[in-house]
């Protein structure tokens, strides 16, 4: 070795080269090794490079949208970490709500903020629970206008395989006036909102000729769509709230032929913002009618259904590999449901798998098949194509199980420390979810 300065530089370089391949969870612990290691691991440049180098960390836990009395967020861990990384924000008098989880970063808002003016349009935060860091996004300009009736939706786009930076999209419109959406984009690189453009409302052909008071506006992007978005394949997606997406019973006569049955409500569409194309789009094809609903028997006379479908849960997410999935659980038969996937070109949903949970729980004695919550759908990205296997991750009281949909077999079962823990989702009041968590050093 030559001069000591060179040696020091070499040590630094070599150390960085080693640590960049060490998973984030270990690096958090290694902040305790020495002050030098702390500064190295906390350095934003190192963090960005680490994020790019480790773009697909495994899901290690799930956060529930439920909050406890003490406003901490409930969580389910798949083993490690065993502690809950999500601390509430500085003003912890208010409950933190997760809007979206995206590759380790979380888009959140404070549910009951103290300040009056914040109440209608709470500002959003981007949180990285791994590093205990968060960024409060300044309000987009349209929100500052203090309009009484604003529709607002936010979505987070973070793809560590492409960039260590993230963007947040804000779509809004004034409910009382205006015929267009305003779209603003926040970039973590610049730290500012940029007004992109205005997007026209989506036309509603079925409203042709209808009186303004009876218009349904089925394609309109508004409150009927969920607050929480899903990022997938360079676009941010919003589906309708479960309670909006009913299945009406229709009886149609087309000349001689009479079709009778449940149909999807035409408003059950998908809206998405394509980041690359910078456009707000509509995937109008509604999902197919589930088997459970089709099988609802009709009364012999009158051809009227014996009962109406009651949707209990609607799970919408992205399975690794860039596919959107939709799973609906109906009260009629909770243990049978379909896993639907959206075509890559957004032409429609198709049923990928039928699941019969009574088969899944057969090997688990004493397990009530009705007590479950869908956590995640994961695709083994390595083996794509014909061999690709998709695993359905479920949470049942005291455990987490993964079920391979292709082989219809159990893969793993994680016993939770708290055997009684069951994070069932709150029902009507708030359509929440269990959000996947993975460790990342990503900078907020």
């Amino acid at each position: 070795m030559s001069s000591s300065a060179e040696t020091v530089a070499n040590i630094e370089g070599l150390l960085k080269q080693i640590l960049i391949s060490v998973p984030a969870l270990s690096l958090i612990r290694f902040k305790c090794v020495s002050k030098h290691w702390l500064s190295l691991i906390s350095d934003p440049d190192f963090c960005r490079r680490h994020t790019l180098r480790n773009p697909n960390p495994k899901i290690s836990a799930f956060f529930s949208s439920q909050t406890n009395q003490d406003t901490t967020i409930n969580f389910i861990t798949l083993g490690s970490p065993s502690g809950n990384p999500f601390k509430t924000l500085a003003n912890s008098a208010s409950a933190l709500r997760i809007l979206q989880s995206c590759n380790g970063l979380f888009l959140c808002y404070v549910e009951f903020p103290g300040e009056e003016k914040e109440r209608n349009y709470p500002s959003v935060y981007v949180v990285n629970p791994t590093t205990n860091k968060f960024r409060a996004l300044s309000a987009p300009s349209l929100v500052k206008k203090e309009e009484m009736y604003m529709f607002v939706r936010y979505g987070l786009a973070f793809d560590p395989s492409k960039s260590p930076h993230y963007t947040v999209v804000c779509v809004s419109h004034d409910i009382l006036r205006g015929k267009r959406h305003s779209i603003e984009i926040y970039s973590s690189e610049t730290g500012t909102w940029v007004k992109r453009f205005k997007a026209p409302f989506f036309p509603s052909p079925s409203d042709e000729g209808r009186h303004i008071d009876t218009r349904n506006m089925p394609m309109h992007f508004d409150e009927r769509s969920r607050e929480g978005a899903v990022y997938c394949n360079g676009a941010i997606h919003w589906i309708r709230n479960g309670w909006e997406a009913s299945l009406p019973f229709c009886s149609r006569r087309n000349g001689v032929v009479e079709t009778v049955g449940f149909e999807r409500n035409e408003l059950d569409v998908l809206h998405y913002y394509d980041i690359g194309e910078e456009s707000l789009r509509l995937a109008a094809a509604t999902p197919p009618v589930p088997l459970v609903v089709k099988n609802i028997p009709l009364k012999k006379k009158h051809k009227f259904p014996t009962e109406f479908p009651r949707l209990i849960d609607r799970y919408f997410g992205e399975s690794g590999g860039g596919c959107l999935y939709l799973i609906e659980v109906f009260e009629q038969c909770k243990t049978e449901f379909e896993v639907m996937e959206m075509e890559r070109d957004y032409s429609g949903w198709f049923v990928k798998y039928h699941v019969d949970l009574s088969l899944v729980v057969a090997p688990l004695p004493g397990q009530d098949p009705n007590a479950f919550v869908v956590l995640f759908l994961s695709r083994d990205v390595e083996t794509d194509g014909e061999d690709s296997s998709t695993d359905l991750w479920l949470h049942m009281p005291g455990k987490v199980v993964s079920y391979n949909l292709r082989n219809k077999s159990f893969k793993t079962s994680v016993e939770l420390v708290n055997r009684e823990l069951f994070l069932a989702l709150d029902d009507d009041e708030y359509e929440g979810d269990n959000y996947p968590y993975m460790e990342t050093l990503a900078c907020v």
Binding site: I28, R29, C32, V33
Partner: protein, 164 residues
């Protein structure tokens, strides 16, 4: 193929094939400066390390033939796994660390990258104390300072701190 002679710190001599020797930036620099017939002295390299490095190149050629992939040109997943498995055995943490330094000194980029990766695998489950020992890092926190960090990230320390 021309052979290049090198002598390690403990006096042992090795003959390397020219194209392999050129993978080392350090050796290459020496060769450019001096005649190729001279023996290159490597006072910072131990003979056991040289053996390992030669082993590496031999292994690469074997695996290249087996998988039909040019290792030096493209990172192939299964190839890397096979290589890592091969190098992982018989190398203690400390030896791995020494080898890393030597390979860094010799400037063999592609081997260095793999060894760093291997090192990362070995390190990730270590306790904070083991890390200090392995990397020869001085513990410069006061007990209060360290306690504060452990408190901030208490969730990461919950559960048993794993040790290989």
């Amino acid at each position: 193929m021309k052979k290049i002679s090198v002598r390690t710190s403990d006096g042992q001599e090795f003959e390397l094939e020219e194209n392999l020797a050129m993978e080392s930036a350090t050796i290459k620099t020496s060769l450019d400066a001096f005649s190729r017939d001279d023996i290159i002295l490597l006072p910072n390299v131990n003979s056991w390390e040289m053996v390992k490095i030669i082993e590496f190149f031999t292994k690469v050629q074997e695996l290249e033939t087996k998988f039909g992939v040019k290792f030096m040109e493209k990172k192939e997943g299964r190839f890397l796994e096979a290589f890592q498995a091969e190098f992982d055995k018989d190398l203690s943490d400390d030896n791995l660390y020494c080898l890393l330094w030597t390979v860094d000194y010799l400037g063999i980029e592609v081997l260095l990258e793999n060894l760093c990766h291997l090192m990362a695998e070995r390190t990730k489950n270590k306790t904070v104390e083991s890390c200090r020992n392995l990397f020869g890092v001085q513990h410069d926190y006061t007990p209060e300072e360290e306690a504060e960090i452990r408190e901030d990230y208490s969730w990461a320390f919950e559960g048993p701190e794993i040790e290989e």
